[in-house]
Amino acid sequence: MATATTTAQVSEAEILPEQQTLWSDAWRRLKRNRLALVATIYLVFLIVVALVALVYTPYRMSAVGIAPTYAPPSAAHWFGADSIGRDVLSRLMVGAQVSLIVGVGTQLLVIAVGVPIGLLAGYYRGWLDSVLTFIINVFYGIPDLLVAMIMVFLLGPSLTNIIVAIVVTRWMDMARLMRGQTMSLREREFIEAARASGAKPARILFGHIFPNALGPIIVQATFGVPAAILFEAFLSFLGVGVQPPTPSWGSMASDGISALEYAPHIVLVPSIALSLTLLAFNFLGDGLRDALDPRQKR
């Protein structure tokens, strides 16, 4: 009797389709992509480092003269010291915070700005679409570095202002993507069915179209993160980014550039960290794009 019940249960479990959602499916495919998996592990490690830096760094990141100036990497100072004897590892850890906040922060804002604009343009079309598309094209036309520098100059170089400046120059890709997605999704039958059941436009836009475009949005945002991090590093390298004593990978590299010949580690360490992080986000973006592609049912 007991055996019979067990058999029945087993066969039932086999017959019923596994409770799989789009996301668990995507996660399964992502795990199978080696590069994306390694990138994910690296990024989790980076996030942990940034969080640890909130409460602990080997030395105080702004403490001057705790090591000989230009000291090369050693057991006491793994990544050496900079031109005024600060511990590079401690500064690198705090710099990771800056990079992650800038990268993720800009993309969240880009989504908040670009998605509604794209939804409105794609759904209502007509004159609204023409106006919004025109605005998008105008923003594409302006030189991003110049605008960002002017904005930071006018608003003052705080982390928030840098994020705002990057968003102002980088929201258009997301709006354009969302507009295209909306235009194709609005013709689908379930949107017609939602309209026939009396759903309000806001409900159709954010409740039906937006969740269906979430895959491409996530991929786009993932590719946007390294671009934003690089932009911030560039601004900081030029001296209009995050202000001292807060370290940014860009400003750290900038600090070390004059001593490149006899203390290359000051430039190399933040540059390698930056490169690895950009690479990891790009691999993750690639992996997500494949994993979230509905046509790819592997």
Binding site: T21, L22, E189, F190, A194, A196, S197, A199, P211
Partner: protein, 350 residues
């Protein structure tokens, strides 16, 4: 009979295409009575779906309802504001579509989508949620309690269509418009869905408008039939009259071209000669005349209007089948309605 619940008068819907204006629905008028089940039949492009969409002002771009009246409970739906018509959609008149595969949102849970149809019309969340399970039971989805959490792709085609019907019924509408609800399903499931629609029509008293190209579906479900051709109604009558004694040659041809189990073996399946007219340039006179086997001179030039040819029967034809049978040797039809006594079952029918 009491006043009709829906009165459609001279409905005209046009599509502004690059090639010119296509009048997809051209002067359609009909009544729908409370609790009735009305079939609208016609081949692809006859304007039957656009008629249904026009009633709720859901015609997609570049289409537009350009004239006529749709009176529901004495208010003209075509005159309502966007917010007012939205209240009518899904609450008083709901619609189910052809392909259940694509008319449920793939990323939202099935139960949530049914809840939503009720939330859109102001029902409290907890109540809507409880009713969803009841509705799924009512449309005979097994294990309804666990199915509400399923995503559409976890349901079979038949179950998805049942879920769509549950969604359509969620606000207890007075009219349910079903646009080819069985076309995308396989035959056994088709029969189940039709039976379900018939039962719901009887039990809930909601009027059903069944849009289909399948005469068999009409025979099984409807009490009254409208036959459309090239954007116009060519014949209208009770299901008995339409199947036993159609007056328009198009209706007659449709019925004659149905595959039948009791047909003489090895007989070729008959089709209607020619193709449906190009609505950019509809033929002059009667729109069916290029394909009509019984056309006369007048059909080439004069457009026929709907005229009464019997009790509760209207047809737009200069000849009509009564005359075609008498004078032009048209075949008699065998009534195919269930229980109507076709050749094979003759002995068993009372």
């Amino acid at each position: 009979m009491a006043t009709p619940i829906l009165q459609v008068r001279d409905l005209r819907t046009q599509f502004m295409t690059d090639g010119g204006i296509v009048t997809a629905v051209d002067g359609v008028s009909f009544d729908l009575h409370q609790g009735e089940s009305l079939g609208i039949v016609g081949e692809s492009g006859s304007g039957k779906s656009v008629t249904a969409l026009s009633l709720l002002r859901l015609v997609p771009d570049p289409g537009r309802v350009v004239g006529g009246k749709v009176l529901f409970k004495n208010q003209d739906l075509l005159q309502l504001t966007d917010d007012e018509i939205r209240e009518v959609r899904g609450r008083d008149i709901s619609m189910i579509f052809q392909d259940p595969q694509s008319s449920l949102n793939p990323v939202l849970r099935t139960g949530f989508q049914i809840d939503e149809a009720m939330l859109a019309h102001g029902r409290p969340k907890a109540e809507a949620h409880a009713r969803t399970v009841d509705l799924l039971k009512q449309v005979r989805i097994p294990a309804a309690e666990s199915r509400v959490k399923d995503f559409p792709h976890q349901l079979s085609g038949g179950m998805r269509q049942r879920a769509m019907i549950a969604m359509g019924l969620s606000n207890a509408p007075q009219i349910l418009i079903a646009d080819e609800p069985t076309t995308a399903l396989d035959v056994t499931v088709q029969a189940q869905i039709l039976e379900l629609l018939g039962d719901l029509n009887r039990e809930l008293g909601a009027a059903v408008i069944m849009i289909t190209h399948n005469m068999g579906v009409v025979a099984g479900l409807c009490t009254r039939v409208i036959v459309m051709y090239a954007g116009q109604i060519v014949e209208q009558g009770t299901v008995e009259q339409i199947f036993a004694n159609p007056q328009h040659p198009y209706t007659w041809s449709l019925l004659r071209s149905m595959p039948r189990v009791d047909a003489v073996r090895h007989e070729r399946l008959r089709s209607i000669e020619g193709i449906a007219p190009d609505l950019l340039h509809p033929p002059a006179g009667c729109r069916f005349h290029p394909r009509c086997p019984f056309r006369i001179e007048k059909c080439y030039t004069d457009e026929p209007v709907l005229e009464e040819h019997g009790p509760d029967n209207l047809a737009a034809c200069w000849v009509t089948m009564d005359r075609a049978r008498k004078e032009m040797g048209a075949d008699d039809l065998v009534d195919i309605r269930p229980g109507a006594g076709s050749g094979v079952h003759k002995g068993q029918v009372k």
